[in-house]
């Protein structure tokens, strides 16, 4: 095993990496910028180092040079990039390698680099997997129109080295083509992607999105885990995830698993990888391979009892895959919701702020991983994911019911979150039937229906009661309403309200 491992990330994945590294007997080293100093990963690390804003345009966690230098100074033998940030950055990998430090990301033999979506897609095509029709890769504006003309709209433009939903743009028609190109290229630069190249691909409006986690050691021993399905996203980021997919039968699962083995062998994948497919009209189209650990690793662990994060680190240190093929079961059903500090009513606008009150769900087969606690401040600079909530049920129906109840128990005051939205989703026929589509999240009215479904007639009475009581108990506001001097009744109310409560300024929750 490695001796000293630096974790170049923040939030949940930082805390989880620190834990995994410690469990493997190595020294876990965290980095943090000022606002993150109280986070669990920093607290639990064996050593923690502050990283600074050296260039106001670069967030410290993206500051490749600073992190590489720190890794060298601290004599670490490996760096875990988590997900996002530097996880797919080729320069980062090379700079570390030059200093004899391993990046815990899949290494591939030969010329393939998993971070290049288009190269991987071509390899999959040669291995005989169905792929979506698309263009070659290009970065010149002149090639934009010809590439688009050979395909049918709607299209999706993808940065060759994009990740985590970043650098993707749906193009409904020719008019949007140029602005999309500019936008995606700007994103490539902003997120320091390995190149500004893009390609176009046919856009499926309503596919099933599934992915298979894979572990593969240097000797080629491979385990392909049961698939995860992501039935609901917003901005290409997951809202709900379940495993195994309720809509994949055993025959398709087995077929895809064996295709994945072939592909990973061809690519010489080593470490952890996640192989994604879009399923439409019965065909599973190979989409991409993500070479970094995914937030969804927790769902696979809950289903199978295998800690993907720990195995990933172990494998990359050169240890062999140590898994009996039938060791993990998938006769349970796991549902995972991602909780974000954002406002679904307001187009998912991030909602940074302070957590004033926090009630956590708990109980058998309910797993919560969260980076927040009462009083915590949510930074406006990073991904607003604040929690992963998972349940395991004996079947899907039980899991849906459990998730609904766990979400009902989960209460965060001070921030807007998607908890009520997720409660509505769990109650919906569309989720039960598997007919959710991206439209459900994009259209404010459809989105709102999820929340409306939570409101009973009694709730509306209660809300009216609460509004009246809030006013009633607030002498100052009532006074401004000019209570009739002559009315004894109103006067005594005012008196009572002022007596039991200190006068207060009206305030709005954030």
């Amino acid at each position: 095993m490695f001796k000293r491992v630096l974790v170049a990330n923040r939030g949940l994945i930082q805390a989880n990496c620190v834990r995994a590294i410690k469990e493997l007997g190595a020294t876990a080293i965290a980095v943090y910028e000022g606002d993150d100093r109280d986070s669990a990963g920093v607290r639990n690390a064996d050593e923690a180092y502050e990283i600074k804003i050296n260039d106001p345009r670069i967030r410290p966690y993206l500051d490749l040079e600073q992190i590489v230098q720190l890794a060298e100074d601290l004599k670490v033998d490996a760096v875990h990039p988590g997900y996002g940030f530097l996880a797919q950055n080729g320069k980062f990998a090379r700079e570390l390698e030059r200093r004899g430090i391993k990046l815990i990301a899949p290494r591939v033999e030969g010329k393939f680099n998993l971070s290049n979506k288009h190269e991987v897609k071509e390899a999959a095509m040669r291995a005989g997997l169905p792929v979506l029709k698309g263009s070659e890769v290009f970065s010149d504006r002149e090639r934009l129109e010809p590439a688009a003309k050979s395909l049918n709209f709607p299209l999706v433009m993808k940065a060759a080295h994009g990740y985590g939903g970043i650098g993707m743009k749906v193009i409904p028609d020719m008019r949007r083509l140029e602005s999309a190109f500019e936008h995606v290229q700007a994103t490539c630069r902003k997120f320091f992607m390995n190149s500004p190249e893009v390609f176009l691909e046919q856009y499926l409006s309503d596919p099933r999105h599934i992915e298979f986690p894979v572990l593969r050691d240097e000797a080629g021993r491979t385990t392909v885990f049961p698939e995860l399905e992501c039935p609901l996203q917003r901005r290409f980021q997951k809202l709900v995830l379940e495993t195994p997919s309720p809509f994949i039968d055993r025959i398709l699962r087995t077929k895809l698993q064996s295709e994945i083995r072939v592909l990973c062998e061809r690519l010489g994948v080593f470490g952890f990888a996640s192989v994604e497919f879009l399923i439409s009209d019965g065909t599973a189209y190979f989409l991409e391979i993500n070479g970094y650990i995914q937030p969804s690793h927790t769902a696979t662990t809950l289903l199978t009892g295998v800690d993907l994060l720990k195995e990933q680190i172990r494998l990359l240190s050169g240890e062999p895959l140590n898994m009996r093929r039938n060791e993990f079961s998938c006769d349970r059903h796991v549902i995972n919701t991602y909780i974000y500090a954002e406002d679904p009513e307001n187009d998912f606008a991030p909602s940074p702020g302070q957590v004033d009150r926090l009630y956590l769900p708990f109980g058998e087969e309910v797993v919560l991983q969260t980076s927040i606690s009462s009083g915590a401040k949510i930074s406006p600079f990073y991904d607003p994911m604040i929690a992963k909530l998972l349940v395991r049920g004996r079947d899907r129906d039980e899991a849906i019911l459990k998730m609904g109840i766990a979400l009902e128990e989960f209460f965060v005051e001070g921030l807007k979150t998607n908890i009520p939205l997720m409660r509505g989703v769990m109650k919906s026929d569309a989720f039960r039937d598997g007919t959710l589509s991206p439209e459900h999240m994009k259209n404010p009215e459809k989105r709102n229906q999820f929340i409306e479904s939570l409101k009973s007639a009694k709730d509306s009475e209660i809300a009216a009661l609460v509004a009246s009581l809030a006013l009633h108990s607030d002498g100052e506001t009532l006074k401004r309403m000019e209570v009739l001097e002559t009315d004894d009744n109103a006067q005594s109310v005012l008196g009572a309200a002022t007596r039991w409560l200190k006068p207060r300024k009206p305030r709005r929750p954030r």
Binding site: I166, P444, I462, A464, A467, H472, M481, V493
Partner: protein, 170 residues
């Protein structure tokens, strides 16, 4: 004291003037009588938790400038409310805006990296109007209602403050 409150439909709320808020009390809404107890208040007196009909309900109340409640959250679930009449007061309710406004404002500070519509273009509720880049996110700006783009008030790549007017749908 009697309140007329619109929340999904019109409700008549009656709170006894002599209620002692240190103890459980009763509030009548329409024809149902509810048992209410105040469970938790902030230092400034804001009610945080109620026990209503023996069910614990964490609440938040959003008020407008004059202190009138406009929104109630029951365990995070939002309800628009409007108190239209209070017996024994000279309170004159503002005329409520029932229409969805066609003014589209920046809901957080950021850069307007893309505007995807033109003046005169017809849009549906939910049509993407542009992208506001803020935090790690590309925040898609969607049309609040169906209509015609009347004016566009910002330029591409302009930096916006929260609340800046982006465009108007009519």
């Amino acid at each position: 004291m009697k309140y007329s409150v619109y929340c999904q439909k019109k409700h008549a709320v009656s709170i006894d003037r002599k209620m002692d808020t240190g103890k459980p009390f009763e509030i009548t809404v329409d024809k149902s009588c509810h048992d209410v107890a105040i469970r938790k208040v902030k230092d400034d007196g804001t009610i945080m938790t109620l026990l209503i009909d023996h069910k614990v309900v964490p609440i938040e109340v959003e008020r407008r400038g004059d202190g009138m409640p406009v929104r109630v959250f029951l365990k995070g679930v939002p309800f628009d409310v409007e108190i239209s009449k209070i017996a024994s007061t000279r309170f004159k309710p503002q005329v409520p805006e029932r229409d969805i406004s066609g003014e589209v404002h920046a809901n957080l500070p950021g850069q307007m990296v893309e505007i995807t519509v033109r003046v005169g273009e017809k849009v549906e509720a939910g049509t993407p109007l542009g992208i506001l880049d803020a935090m790690k996110m590309e925040n898609e700006i969607l049309s609040p209602k169906a209509g015609i783009v009347k004016s566009i008030e910002v330029n591409q790549n302009q930096i916006l403050a929260k609340g800046d007017l982006i465009l108007v749908i009519e």
